[in-house]
């Protein structure tokens, strides 16, 4: 029992070390690479930005829109009792921007993009494509992981902004349509209580989530073993690990922002 627990702990540490190693490798190629004349392919970064960002916008829009609607209805249910229905606007906006939009966007993207990274790189690993890059003296981390990492680091905050807007729109639909709040008043209340720090704490979270998703997706993909089964395992692992780490990071960051009064 003890030895089994020990093995699991050692395994976890090894995995964490390996992920950190990949992170340092990626940072090395982003920061030092250009001085050695070796940068990630711009074409590849744009391709990944379209894949991660543009193609995820519809699902992010709808997920956060409906969350905004649900949130408005649930909060109205309580606030109506106190005659404070107007605060639905600020409640929806603040909770979305600080918390729900970055987390939901992160989870959606982890499911959609993190898994795709793991599956694509995993298939490349088992079909010797990564080995082929290596024999051509092309570093697989620079060629494959860096464009994905950069693209997601840029696109996830963009998607989070889209999520903020869609969520507030959802609240607005409920507030003005069903709760009969004056549209101007709704928007005024939204922006009155929504401080700039609410936006950037959400932003900070989405940066961290982007790093988690890209790192875990690429790490699982690049370390795939076995054939089709291995690819399946890597894909599942990437989603499960990303989900856990996103929620964990969210918890840590929220605590940090709360206790430092940010």
């Amino acid at each position: 029992m003890i030895s089994k627990t020990g093995q699991i702990v050692i395994g976890l540490f090894k995995e964490a070390a390996s992920v950190l190693n990949l992170l340092f490798d990626i940072l090395y190629w982003i920061i030092i690479g250009p001085f050695k004349g070796k940068t990630a392919r711009r074409q590849s970064i744009f391709h990944q930005m379209v894949f991660c960002g543009v193609n995820s916008s519809v699902i992010v829009f709808f997920v956060t829109l409906f969350t905004g609607i649900v949130l408005a209805m649930q909060s109205a249910y309580q606030l109506e009792k106190m005659g404070a229905v107007i605060y639905v606007a600020s409640l929806v906006a603040v909770s979305l921007c600080r918390e729900l939009s970055p987390v939901l966007t992160g989870l959606v993207v982890a499911g959609r993009i993190g898994s795709a990274f793991a599956a694509e790189l995993g298939t490349m690993k088992v079909s010797e494509q990564i080995e082929a890059l290596d024999t051509m003296a092309i570093n697989p981390v620079r060629f494959l992981a860096v464009p994905r990492f950069l693209a997601l680091l840029f696109m996830l905050p963009c998607l989070t902004i889209l999520g903020n807007i869609a969520g507030i729109l959802g609240g607005f639909i409920v507030g003005t349509g069903s709760l009969h709040i004056n549209p101007d008043l709704y928007l005024q209340t939204t922006f009155k209580y929504l401080a700039i720090k609410d936006i950037y704490t959400g932003f900070t979270k989405s940066f961290v989530f982007a790093m988690i998703i890209a790192l875990i997706g690429c790490h699982e993909g690049l370390n795939t073993k076995g054939g089709a089964e291995g690819v399946g395992r890597a894909t599942t692992r990437s989603v499960v690990i990303s989900f856990i780490l996103i929620i964990l990071a969210d918890c840590v960051l929220t605590a940090l922002f709360y206790f430092t009064k940010v």
Binding site: M124, E131, T135, M136, A137
Partner: protein
């Protein structure tokens, strides 16, 4: 074939261990510039591992591997990168990047390692495709062409940087006899026309006798014998004779003797 006797690839007492199993056991061999050197052996004999050691994908646990006089296990990543540019590798399943077209696949090493203008690169790609008989397939994706064609594209990619050495991993496996013959001819042509040293790992005996200048046989990670094609043909070594004639009985044990059929059946 090898007018100059310069050694281009040299293995000195190389061993490699995977999970306590010695996959490569104290192998030493020299490959001369310009020759076609075939490493043959049964599946699981360690011949593909040997190829991966020579290409620097794996590092030996013991011994040294010299390519153009440089001990590749002791080089830094940048220095190893320079050595890697001097050779190409053709993979068993071609290992083309699925997301890139045939042209982009072949131009990849050129784009990454040279400062040539895109027009020049396009011309080089066309030349390489002509060499493997696939001109006109530039815009196809690997999934749109046959296995044999993919292997030839892989070969075009391997020779994109005009390497000194090309390593081939099972170049004819999975191909029909005609395409296999075409591939053999291609390997021979490339080494004769471009004076490339070819190191071929295969268990296809027909292919061995078509293309080889020199043959080495590996069995259970050990070097059984090295010699010219003629020497190997008439070798008295029972391992070699069993292998080249494809006989089920002989010193190469296909069945594990310690597990009797009675034991499996529980009798």
């Amino acid at each position: 074939m090898a007018e100059s006797k310069e050694i281009i690839v040299s293995l000195k007492n190389v061993s490699k261990v995977f999970q306590d199993v010695k996959v490569i056991d104290n192998i030493s061999l020299d490959i001369l510039r310009g020759e076609t050197f075939v490493i043959m052996g049964c599946s699981g004999s360690g011949k593909s591992t040997l190829l991966r050691l020579m290409t620097g994908i794996l590092k030996p646990d013991e011994g040294s591997i010299f390519i153009n006089g440089k001990d590749i296990a002791k080089l830094s990543e940048d220095e190893l990168g320079e050595v890697k540019k001097s050779f190409g590798m053709s993979f068993q399943y071609s290992a083309l990047l699925d997301s890139l077209t045939v042209e982009e696949n072949i131009s990849l090493p050129l784009v990454e390692h040279t400062k040539l203008a895109p027009d020049i690169i396009r011309i080089i790609v066309k030349m390489k495709l002509s060499l493997v008989g696939l001109r006109g397939f530039e815009d196809y994706y690997p999934s749109q062409i046959s296995g044999g064609m993919r292997k030839r594209v892989g070969l075009a990619r391997a020779i994109a940087l005009d390497p000194d050495i090309v390593f081939y991993d099972e170049p004819t496996s999975g191909l029909d006899p005609v395409v296999g013959g075409v591939t053999d001819k291609l390997i021979k042509d490339l080494s004769q026309k471009l004076l490339i040293t070819s190191v071929v790992v295969t268990h296809d005996m027909q292919s061995v006798f078509h293309i080889a200048d020199k043959v080495a046989m590996v069995h259970k990670g050990k070097l059984v014998e090295t010699g010219t094609t003629e020497q190997i043909k008439i070798s008295a070594n029972p391992y070699i004779q069993q292998f080249i004639n494809g006989r089920p009985e002989g010193p190469i044990d296909f069945f594990k003797e310690d597990i009797a059929i009675e034991e499996i059946l529980g009798l």
